[in-house]
Symmetry: C2
Subunit: 576 residues, 2 copies
């Protein structure tokens, strides 16, 4: 993968470039960071002509390694005002790999965006007007694209929310079978794509072939070791059977499950929306429901599911923890079928479930609808799709919803909604929310995994925990692998470097890999500083510093000054 | 005036303090700046518990000088995220002076704000629950307060928009006769007051007496000189007869009159909304219509008016240029009676006409209603008052309106709407919009007055012009006098110092006065830096740098780097 495709969304011009030696060393999130600091005005309007949308393969994107092939979508976020990377599985990565395509850079924007498809084939790219896709839901869009361009392609698209430029919009994709709907959800990057008049991108790798790795034998050895470690790890089995919803019961037990707009940390109906319940229902109901699907072809963890209704018909695929936390307990909704429907509606409209679940929670706090009102919540999501004033408010994310509806308890940092871990009782993630260049984002450094080994209610040590997790997050997001690969890297910290060396013929050490992650964070922070969203100017929402969270009656009490010292903290020996 | 009243809006506790030696030297805008940098967390939520609302008399507030007695309202702005000062005439200043009250500081906020009146009497202050004021329009509120507490008081209040915490909300007051409705409009400070559960403030000076000036003879001499210079200046007469609307024809001729959401610089119906037309109609219609009213008792310029409908009944008092520019030409509305009605509706609901006129212009661009649709615009304003979703969007200001409705041509800087001078053809004010700690605000440094002597289309010299105007603005806003006093200070730059010395017994020179203005700006900029809205991170909206403005087809082309050097520019000898 050494090709970069630049597309001018205003003129339609396309340019193929071969990446430079520097660019070769960046992938996914780190590519986005470096590209933005080098080429994009940090003060640009996120939804204006001068922002860019980047689709970047990870550094391990074109080799056969489990979980590899996730794709990073990036740009200046309309929510945070800073740099944003959001990654997603699906079939795009493998198709980019075969096309030798490291990155697609969408530049500029038309004055009046109309829906177009960016069709990328071997050595060819063009923007095609597709007026019939206007306002189409994501599933329908993907279905039309599969029919029109073939079902082996990698596809990305936005829903009506992205077309409207709503700041909560996501970028959707599907897996190689077309069954799942996956999204690069965070940061409102669907709006950035939408205002560029790009409704969808089709990656058609027909006739193209992946390059050979530099050292196939070494690659096979490293890949086998990785798979063995993962297979031997009990977490892999748990994830395969229960997926991400497995953590819901744990989060409820820890008292960090967002409930009724982050008013409580435990939900009285947690059991009915738990991973165990979901697995049980999938087994019991049969029909189209399934467990243990991979989101990226070849992944041996395969933690995704198809959740079906009582009649066995698919409601949503895949039903994940964050979506349940924000659309379920956070909205006071304990009916898992209702949560699945709300998840499906978010997907169809093309909005991030986390951002939108939080916005609905705030709308409930404002009294627009009551907590627990399933039909009301569905109606709000349909209004997002229709673009009514209220729908547009919700679709613009939780901060705008709070501002417009007059709610002060707004669970967000840097303009972006918090995922499903209340930081008052999991303080390490609070440090990440406040300090990460990504804003409130669990994938940027989730301290949940430390909750057993380190008291999550204690102030002590959380800054160091977050630092380690943030570096690791930057590495994984640059490699294009899933967080769940971590046990292998913990057991053998050299593994990531060995995989890179086998693929590229480099001579990297573990330290080089760690430095890549560190550098990525530094570059992102520098961009944010120039954009006016420096991390020392962000803190958790005020209510979390004063309002005790049941059941522990905890507040977030790590002083801002302590968090500000994070980047000067002692670097951990092993970041995995 | 050496008393400071602190009111805790959460507990109801009130505290009287005598101001320190330092505080004595601050007034109005400079008091707000210094207080905030010293005492308020720059990262606080503007509508949360940790923001404050300050009502500050100017340094010349308690002496009999023409135009003196304007009152500054200040806080961290929900629009800009930085420090904000907005000042207003009316009867508050004189009552504060008699009470010896330099400043009122509203601290903290209740969890669930209910309408209360802060009643301030001689050595007594209390917060009184007034449930019957809930949701009341400003005029009605002021009428009730006059009836209940006496008609000699100084009054401040918010309308329904302020109670709802909408970011476009203003703080309203009336003159000593109760005829005019004046507002401290900019920055959304009405929302800051509203969320503190303070619907109104009553300044009842009964039994109190102003202190004597340090040197009454010197004061009388300086005051007489000032009045003479003003009377001799032809601008005074023009202002008395035509008020601020006098400049509309000039702005149209210069091509800077915002028209149809800042798409054009001239309006084909400019004549029908001009100052000349307004004066003519007032004369012709008779009835309640009047010209030449003072907004502060004793002002000899007296540039306000009462605009009456064809039957002679008051529509609005006073009808001013900014309101006409934003609610009229900017919305494609050329019917001056319609503009007056829209102005009245803004006042009643309690929203800033500039912010809201700009927001309606953006809503028109979004296609919510058509340009020129008077009934549609009225309906939008009524919706603001009712708090419908669309009304709340509009009431939240132009940036939120643009974000939610998907419009990219948003005339705002630092989150705040531009007043009625398009900076593409009046480049000096563009520098002020971008660089002033106040965001886009003409009172922070309006280059219109330089348009005859310095080519407003030229890039050259505009940074220096803005610097001078900004320093002057900071001085006048700290003295509590009107911009229209300027001719006197130009003719005799020592006059401001002489007035201060006569009042306080100081030994200030012109340089001390200038330094006070400079220091005010520096303190504001430092607060903004800490708040994450540093002025080197703000620029004019992108469309103004690329979209030519008819009739001159000009763009805003002063490089950001040049503007960033403003604070290092050579200080002018005379800032007046």
């Amino acid at each position: 993968m050494n090709k970069i495709l630049r597309v001018n969304a205003r003129t339609g011009e396309t340019r193929w470039q071969t990446c430079s030696e520097d660019e070769q060393k960046w992938g996914g999130r780190s590519f986005i960071a470096h590209h933005f600091l080098k080429e994009v005005d940090p003060l640009c309007d996120p939804l204006g002509r001068n922002n860019r949308l980047i689709i970047a393969a990870g550094l391990l994107g074109d080799i056969s390694v489990t979980t590899a092939g996730r794709v990073s979508v990036g740009g200046k976020s309309p929510l945070t005002g800073g740099i944003k990377e959001s990654n997603v599985g699906g079939a795009v990565g493998k198709n980019m790999a075969r096309l030798g395509l490291k990155t697609v850079v969408l530049e500029e924007a038309p004055d009046s965006p109309k829906p177009r498809v960016l069709l990328i084939r071997k050595d060819h790219a063009e923007l095609i007007d597709e007026p019939e896709l206007q306002g189409k839901a994501t599933s329908e869009t993907l279905k039309i694209l599969r029919k029109r361009f073939g079902d082996q392609n990698g596809l990305l698209c936005v829903g009506p929310a992205g077309e409207m430029g709503l700041s909560g919009a996501c970028v959707a994709t599907t897996d190689h079978t077309g069954v799942q709907l996956r999204v690069a959800g965070r940061g409102g990057l669907g709006a950035v794509m939408g205002v560029k008049g790009v409704k969808a991108v089709v990656f058609d790798a027909e006739g193209a072939e992946s390059r050979s790795p530099a050292d196939r034998a070494a690659l096979t050895a490293a890949s086998r070791e990785l798979n063995k470690i993962l297979r031997d790890d009990p977490k892999t089995d748990n994830r395969h059977n229960f997926g991400t919803p497995a953590v819901l019961s744990l989060c409820n037990a820890l008292g960090i499950l967002p409930t009724r707009n982050f008013r409580f940390g435990q939900f009285e109906q947690a059991e009915s929306i738990s991973g165990e319940m979901i697995a049980e229902l999938i087994d019991k109901r049969g029909g189209e429901g399934r467990k243990g699907l991979p989101c990226v072809q070849g992944c041996i963890i395969a933690c995704s599911n198809v959740f079906a209704d009582p009649s066995g018909r698919t409601t949503v695929a895949s039903l994940q923890y964050e979506n349940i936390g924000l659309l379920g307990s956070n909205c006071g909704i304990g009916d898992v079928d209702a949560v699945a429907e709300l998840n499906h509606l978010c997907n169809q409209v093309g909005v991030d479930t986390i951002e939108t679940g939080a916005a609905i929670g705030v709308a409930m706090e404002a009294g627009i609808i009551a907590f627990g009102d399933v039909e009301g919540a569905k109606d709000l999501l349909r209004q997002v799709g229709k673009g009514t004033p209220l729908g547009r408010i919700i679709g613009s994310g939780v901060v705008t919803t709070g501002r417009v509806l007059g709610v002060r308890r707004v669970p967000a940092v840097k303009g972006q909604a918090m995922p499903a871990y209340d930081p008052r009782s999991l303080k390490g993630i609070g440090v990440t929310y406040a300090m990460s260049p990504m804003g409130a984002d669990h994938t940027a450094g989730n301290a949940l995994e430390t909750a057993r080994s380190h008291d999550p209610l204690s102030r002590e040590g959380q800054v160091e925990i977050s630092l380690r997790l943030q570096i690791r997050g930057a590495i994984l997001d640059s490699l294009g692998v899933c967080l769940f690969i971590r046990p292998a890297f913990v057991k053998d910290p050299s593994l990531a470097a060995r995989l890179l060396n086998a693929s590229y013929g480099w001579k990297w050490t573990y330290q080089d890999v760690r430095n890549m992650g560190l550098e990525c964070l530094e570059v992102e922070r520098e961009f944010n500083r120039r954009a006016g969203v420096a991390d020392d100017q962000c803190d958790l929402p005020e209510f979390m510093r004063t309002e005790p969270l049941p059941p522990h009656d905890s507040i977030f009490d790590i002083p801002k000054e302590d968090m500000d010292r994070i980047w000067a903290a002692q670097l951990p020996e092993d970041v995995f």
